[in-house]
């Protein structure tokens, strides 16, 4: 019998729109989580795949010595795809011309990830190569053609072997991140290596084994491989590399995570408000049912059935819309990214369903328990039970739920704690501010009869309700402003690091004598050039006089566990400078004084990798000479700029006597390519590293991530709007009562309409102002702490906040109660009854 009654009541309540907001809020929470989780997972997977292309594999085993091919055999047995490569620098000869080049000898399966793009002639269309060149053939980058004055079909001499020039290299997936690791590219098949006879004992060669496959298979292979790795072997994935792209990806991931969390907070507020409102509106029916003999048990069953049905329906609707939305979004993104996005796993579904159920249960349970407790006596004493409406337990439970949801979604307790604590602090401050504003306002003398006076009186009269509304509005506006500004800052920061005139090539191996003529030539030809930095290759082989062996692995999370000194023994590019480079900040210690003697400045990650601290003494070995230098400063380096950066900088006194070469970055416009080639011909030892393709790849990734961020932002705006709707709905009953009274007393419709509009305008404006204040403070902290951006204030949001807040809240609020305002007094009285 109770089930029939429960279903009947549910269907009627649903049709009457009593459950619309709570259902919409749960559905929105579910669809937000599902859409965000799916979109971010699919983009992350796609970006991870694309990122893998940056190293042409999922993992790379690197060494300066030949690597055991048994590793390849074992990896293939463990279902991994493999490839082998090696790099070395040598001279390339053709038509009496010679060019110092960087040779890459690759096996047929290269690249495992990403695409190797080539042209069959200098003026031909770009195509994707199926693998490395076949034996006997060589592929060259475009600038080599100009340097050697050759064409496709000509022959080049590499060591003891002759090669047929078959293709022009347009884009290598693993274009160099490190400006020192590559030079003008020559690509041959690894099987041709022996006949070149270039590799001799003592030759400087970089060996690489590439691996790709399922993450589980890779990890399982690494478990087998790890004990066998030698000191000179290095295992890494794309995330381990210090590169602009990994920094950008980390930021994008942080932003999407943050936006998702804020969306959940907003949806949660909407659910809490609407669930409480629904239960309050059921106080009378429950009191009536109890009066008519309905048992507590029956009432409990009826309303728990309602909860179950709302939950099930909303979750299903949320999942359906969420899936549809993410399909639209991902197909749009896939189109603009020019790639298929991989399917998401089951985790987003699980997280979304859990979110829906947790929201429905946790935000409804206390109002429902209150509802079960409504005394039947309420039928006679109408305000009985109203006191239950303000429940600390409900607030506490809601806060706990928000915390759990944030944790569930972010899977990161630190971010959850920071966001949760700052939101709580914000609510507390907002509550005090609203008490002050609304309490103080009561003292104002107001003239009756005009809309502004009525609006202000209305705000003052509902001081407590308005305090809650102000908090909700401010929170919603604050989160929206916060995300919009942060999005713009992140994107403009990326764009400022990679402006359209960003350097697109590095110039290395410039000798002291060449410095002046090269600089003059570049200036004469109008080629933009940045500063020239001296470099010397050297090693750190002892810390505080103690020689230390180095660890070999860079696998995720292992550095600290194993206290690896992964920079020890490795050859590094050292420089000496009098001033701190522009893209460097000193975060600890002091930069070299003018009279500094044997001092070193280390990049912060190098400090960790060497496991050293400020004040330690490092022993450097350059050639056969060794010297000591004391660490006197630590630098934070902005790796996202495409300018030469150094892990270790030494004070001028220790290195200035060593023979150094110089490095700089240049911007070569297409029409300057020939002039630039001429420079390389004039100075054959000079090497240029073309990073144009790499810059383009980063710029396209930034574009895609910006699109994703914009999409996520739109969803969060929807959540914010729902909070506003639920808040306006919650005060609708009281507003109707007031309108009835004012109408009965003869107030004109225009007066009431304007008063309502002004009330929302004032509330929204005030909320916007408070929101602007707090979002600017939050932005300042988050930009510095989470996104590594320079913190700055945003005066424009102090204007945009109140204006947009006022207009948004007024527009939405007015739209919500427009129907009520249109009703005649009799209709309103009946609706109220």
């Amino acid at each position: 019998m109770w089930a029939k009654l429960a279903l009947k009541l549910f269907s009627r309540e649903f049709r009457r729109g009593e459950l619309t907001v709570i259902s919409a809020a749960i559905a929105l929470a579910v669809l937000t989580v599902l859409t965000l989780s799916m979109v971010t997972e699919r983009i992350a997977q796609s970006i991870a795949q694309k990122s893998s292309a940056f190293i042409a594999a999922d993992r790379v085993l690197a060494s300066n010595h030949a690597i055991d091919t048994a590793f390849i055999t074992q990896a293939e047995q463990q279902n991994l795809k493999t490839a082998q490569m090696l790099y070395f620098d040598t001279m390339l000869f053709a038509n009496d011309e010679m060019q110092f080049s960087s040779v890459k000898a690759a096996s047929n399966s290269y690249p495992l990830k990403g695409e190797l793009k080539v042209k069959s002639a200098l003026d031909a269309q770009t195509e994707v190569a199926p693998g490395a060149p076949s034996p006997g053939n060589v592929w060259l980058s475009e600038s080599v053609f100009y340097s050697l004055n050759i064409n496709v079909g000509d022959q080049v001499e590499l060591g003891a072997a002759l090669f047929n020039v078959e293709k022009v290299i347009v884009e290598e997936p693993d274009a160099p991140f490190n400006v020192f690791s590559s030079s003008r590219r020559v690509l041959i098949n690894i099987d041709d290596l022996a006949k070149t006879e270039v590799i001799q004992p003592g030759s400087r060669v970089f060996y690489r084994q590439l691996y790709a496959g399922d993450e589980a298979d890779i990890n399982s292979f690494y478990d087998w491989l790890k004990p066998q790795l030698k000191e000179n072997q290095n295992w890494y994935g794309v995330k381990d590399r210090q590169s602009p792209i990994s920094n950008s990806l980390n930021r994008a991931e942080s932003f999407l995570l943050l936006a998702g969390l804020l969306g959940i907070i907003l949806a949660a507020v909407a659910i809490a408000v609407s669930a409480k409102r629904y239960c309050e509106r059921q106080y009378d029916p429950v009191a009536m049912m109890k009066t008519l003999g309905g048992s507590r048990d029956m009432i409990r069953k009826i309303y728990l059935t309602h909860l179950l049905m709302v939950c099930a329906m909303s979750v299903i609707v949320g999942l359906a819309i969420g899936y549809g939305l993410q399909e639209i979004a991902t197909s749009y993104l896939a189109k603009s990214m020019g790639t298929e996005l991989p399917m998401a796993g089951f985790k987003p579904w699980l997280v979304a369903i859990s979110t829906g159920v947790i929201c429905a249960v946790m935000f409804s349970i206390k109002p429902l328990l209150d509802l079960f407790d409504i005394p039947p006596l309420r039928v006679l004493r109408r305000n009985l039970g109203d006191r239950l409406a303000v429940s600390k337990i409900h607030i506490g439970l809601s806060a706990l739920t928000v915390f759990l949801l944030m944790w569930l979604f972010s899977n990161n307790i630190k971010i959850t704690l920071i966001l949760f604590a700052s939101t709580l602090a914000l609510i507390l401050v907002l509550f005090l501010i609203s008490k002050l504003i609304f309490g103080g306002g009561r003292k104002l003398g107001l003239k009756p009869g005009n809309s502004w006076s009525l609006a202000i009186a209305s705000i003052q009269k509902r001081a407590n309700v308005n305090a809650v509304q102000l908090i909700s509005f401010s929170l919603a506006i604050k989160l929206l402003l916060f995300l919009i500004v942060l999005k713009n800052d992140i994107i403009s920061d990326w764009q400022s690091q990679l402006p359209s005139d960003a350097p697109n090539a590095f110039l290395v191996n410039i000798t002291e004598n060449e410095l002046e003529p090269v600089n003059e030539y570049l200036a004469q030809k109008g080629i933009q050039v940045s500063e020239f930095y001296p470099t010397i290759r050297g090693r750190v082989n002892a810390v505080n006089g103690e020689a230390v062996a180095r660890e070999v692995s860079l696998q995720d999370n292992e550095k600290k566990d194993e206290e690896a000194r992964s920079g020890i023994g490795r050859e590094l590019n050292l420089t000496w400078l009098e001033e701190v480079p522009a893209q460097n900040d000193i975060i600890d210690g002091k930069w070299f004084a003018d009279d500094a003697v044997a001092e070193a400045s280390l990049e912060e990650s190098m400090l960790e990798r060497l496991d050293v601290k400020l004040g330690d003494t490092l022993t450097f070995l350059i050639g056969a000479q060794s010297f000591d230098a004391k660490i006197t400063s630590v630098r934070k380096v902005n790796w996202a700029t495409l300018k030469p950066n150094f892990f270790i900088i030494l004070s001028p006194d220790v290195l200035s006597d060593f023979p150094a070469t110089y490095i700089s970055s240049v911007r070569i416009e297409p029409e300057q390519k020939r002039d630039f080639s001429q420079l390389l011909r004039t100075y054959p030892t000079l090497t240029a590293i073309d990073v144009d393709n790499f810059v383009k790849q980063i710029q396209s990734t930034i574009e895609q991530v910006s699109l994703a961020i914009g999409f996520v932002l739109a969803i969060v705006v929807l959540c914010g709007a729902l909070v506003l709707i639920s808040q306006v709905q919650a005060s609708l009953g009281e507003r109707m009562q007031e309108i009835v009274i004012l109408r009965t007393l003869g107030a004109k419709g225009r007066l009431i309409k304007n008063a309502t509009l002004y009330e929302f305008l004032l509330l929204g404006g005030l909320a916007g102002l408070v929101a602007a204040f707090f979002s600017d403070i939050a932005l300042l902290i988050v930009q510095q702490q989470m996104f590594d951006l320079a913190g700055k204030l945003h005066p424009n949001i102090w204007f945009i906040g109140p204006v947009a807040g006022g207009l948004f809240v007024a527009g939405l609020g007015y739209f919500m109660i427009a129907r009520t305002l249109k009703q005649n007094t009799q209709g309103l009285v009946r609706a109220l009854a």
């Binding site: 029939k4 008519l292 003999g293 048992s295 005394p375 009854a833």
Partner: protein, 237 residues
């Protein structure tokens, strides 16, 4: 059941209601005793705040007394918990309120059927329909409360009050929210149905004329019983 219980459907003995306020304890009802016979109609009158609605709530088992006893159709209310009191109301009591108290999401017919459904009784549709016919609303059975006038809503409430054939009907200012024409119609309906069903009627009102239509008047002032037109009945036995 004693002879007194058989004669009286309600027995009230030394009933008091005290509530705690910020200023201290406030006595709403003080030491009230009276009886009501089966089928009798009793008006409870008094000025605003005199305690008449509190008395109604105690008699109907909606609230509990601070001291004293109430026996409702042989059941000592003061010994019953909330669930037992609810069950007793479902079996024996009907209500009509000033503010109609209809469930907005149910139609007129469904509102009338509600007490039977809550009591777990079978299909009460026929009885509900017959009652709506009696109150002149057979053409409005599928209408929702918001689609009915105040007078019509109160007629639905009256039909609902009689659906379980209750022994006692409690009415709290049943015509206070209505215009005089509708008010009179409601009063007539209430008394007619009461007579037809042999129900005991306890009517709280501040309307002298309406009170005069009852067989007996109990007047409460400042929480004390100041007039009971058949006072000697309370002392029988």
């Amino acid at each position: 059941m004693s002879a007194l219980s058989q004669l009286n459907i309600i027995q009230v003995n030394s009933l008091s209601k005290v509530v705690s306020t910020f200023e201290g304890e406030l006595t709403i009802l003080s030491d009230i005793s009276f009886n009501v016979k089966h089928g009798e109609s009793v008006a409870v009158v008094g000025t605003s705040g005199s305690g008449k609605s509190t008395l109604l709530s105690l008699l109907a088992g909606l609230d509990t007394a601070s001291r004293g006893e109430i026996v409702l159709d042989g059941e000592p209310l003061h010994t019953l918990d909330e669930e037992a009191r609810a069950a007793l109301r479902a079996a024996k009591v009907g209500f009509v309120f000033q503010s109609f108290m209809l469930v907005q999401s149910l139609t007129a017919l469904e509102n009338v059927m509600l007490p039977a459904e809550l009591a777990g009784k079978g299909d009460a549709k026929e009885q509900a329909f017959a009652l709506l016919e009696k109150v002149g609303l057979s053409h409005r059975v599928d209408h929702y409360p918001s689609q009915l006038s105040g007078g019509e809503q109160q007629r639905v409430a009256i039909a609902r009050a009689f659906v379980g054939s209750p022994k006692i009907l409690f009415a709290d200012e049943p015509s206070a929210n209505l215009d005089s024409k509708n008010g009179h119609m409601i009063e007539s309906l209430l008394f007619d149905l009461n007579k037809q069903n042999g129900t005991t009627l306890i009517l709280v009102t501040h309307d002298e004329a309406l009170a005069q239509k009852c067989e007996r008047i109990i007047q409460i002032e400042a929480g004390e019983l100041v007039q009971n037109s058949t006072e000697e009945m309370a002392n029988v036995g």
